[in-house]
Subunit: 132 residues, 4 copies
């Protein structure tokens, strides 16, 4: 992805610290992709009925991460209060999704990878929040 | 839209108060639609350079409302802390977008309609939050 | 929803026939909402393993309908070839999702409502395509 | 991103050729990110009124690429006809957005990067289509 290159070619400097912002956007996008595939992989398992909660959390995490990435990347109309709450919502759903995926991490490799993606995304969200 | 009919045909009862939930989802979806069109209508005005902030807020509001509607409708993997923060983020961006649209409401009818949609959505979000 | 009012307050007249355009956008948005809830309702049924294909089609239909609605509403950067293909993709996924939901329509009311929403959306997509 | 690792941990083998599928999903996600930032960067330029068409195409391209990536990654409920049309719509909007960005590529570095991202995404879409 060209997130960093794009942000540095932007005519306006962000109010947010560039390195933390870039990392957070990148992790949100990667986490959304991973959660989207994890939801589908869970549905493809032999006993998807054991993974219903995981599917639901994956879908929520994918949607929230995707929107968080888009909102963070926009300087026109950036509203710091809404951004802060959106990034907090993202950190919260990532934490919960990681905890759920951990339950299945030994059985399903996609859940283990997804757990890592969620934890990494939560971490980058919290680092960004610490500077707001 | 069939939001209410769909939620009442759902096999599991929501933890959230049904009337407030249905209203909030419906307003989020309507507000996302309105903001998406307002952004494009602003771009189509004679002097779009006067409306850059409005376009950016419209885009953020559309994305956040859309994700909020999706997340609220899902009972599988509902995480109350993330939901609360997501609805708070939604109320915040709606409030800011309404205030911005108000600046242009006399000049542009799409901004006046959008202002109303954002205020109504913020209101339904806050009513839902008051019950959480 | 204020789709019609918003489009008629837009400073530029659409190349597309307004009534068909408004109907198509409205149905896409309603269908996306319905499919999103149907996916979650299927996951909440006693035997979700019987409904895996339905969940997947619902999710695809929700995403495609949502994007189709957004793209149709935008006059800035409207690319007729891409729009036509996007609306065709929307009609196709709606048809397939309706057929799948029909299999479960007697058992699950959410699938019956979703089948109707998909058929209605496919119909509005094809009516719009007939004028392109 | 962990797209490849996730797809290879999926319990079901895709009907689509794995290498082409992974490449196409990855490029769609990268292109959506780039287009989203390009739209905002255009709005931040001194004369955004010269870039209205570019903003609109960027927004359409971002939405279509994002949905295409999600749909391609899902095996539950994969409908080959809808997938083919969706990937064709994606290739079409990428081609048009690249042509528009090219007009501004000498003036704005974000448009040059975005042009490359769109061309690369179109290319991966066409390679995937050639195998369907």
């Amino acid at each position: 992805m060209k997130t960093q290159e794009m942000l540095s070619s932007h005519p306006r400097k962000s109010q947010l610290y560039m390195k933390k912002l870039t990392d957070c956007i990148s992790e949100c996008i990667a986490c959304a992709d991973t959660c989207n595939i994890c939801a589908d992989a869970c549905l493809g398992e032999e006993k998807p009925q054991m993974l219903v909660k995981c599917v639901g959390l994956d879908l929520n995490c994918a949607d929230i991460c995707q929107t968080t990435a888009r909102v963070l990347a926009r300087q026109a109309g950036m509203d710091m209060q809404a951004v802060r709450l959106q990034v907090q919502a993202c950190a919260a759903i990532c934490a919960t999704c990681a905890t759920e995926c951990q339950q299945h991490a030994e059985m399903h490799r996609h859940c283990r990878i997804c757990m890592d993606a969620c934890r990494s995304c939560e971490d980058k969200c919290r680092q960004l929040l610490s500077g707001l």
